[in-house]
Symmetry: C2
Subunit: 104 residues, 2 copies
């Protein structure tokens, strides 16, 4: 039985290949595939982000890749950056809750 | 309803806090907490790795952090590195399978 963390890592791999396999290089996301992945897989999560420009900024960063393709490593960097941003928000909420508790 | 990718990112955050909250700084993993996380959450996944020294190497890298604590960002780097390693293995298998198919 895989653990929760193993399942999460496996999901990251499967999602990438689900979109990267649609057209062209099967192991890279072209712009259309990346857009589809972001729109289909990150809509709700991004809605809770404080920075509405986050995806645009990241896509712009990825665009420096001259062939306009995103490989698995770049995709993981993207997911990692978004997860860190969400965790920052989560920890902020926990700290606020802790302070509220302390002040009671 | 969260998407599969959102659920995976959420799991990464929850797992970190499950272990980091055990003792000391609630937002960082000390050595004992990191070891527990690796042993409990990554056993099966690491078993399929070709490099049995992988975790040791990564732990050594993380040890350069002078306070012997791993924050969320460092944890995400660890998870990202392991996911990339597993994906490399996965893509290699896919390519081999593709070649077998082509030669038939």
């Amino acid at each position: 039985m895989p653990t929760q963390l193993e399942t999460a890592m496996d999901t990251l791999i499967k999602i990438f290949h689900h979109y990267s396999g649609k057209e062209g290089d099967k192991y890279k996301l072209n712009k259309g595939e990346l857009k589809q992945l972001l729109q289909s897989e990150l809509t709700d999560f991004l809605a809770c982000q404080k920075d509405p420009q986050l995806v645009d900024k990241i896509m712009k960063d990825l665009d420096t890749n001259k062939d306009n393709e995103v490989d698995f490593n770049e995709y993981v960097v993207l997911v990692a950056a978004l997860t860190v941003a969400c965790n920052d928000f989560f920890e902020e909420q926990l700290r606020k809750r802790g302070k509220l508790k302390d002040s009671k």
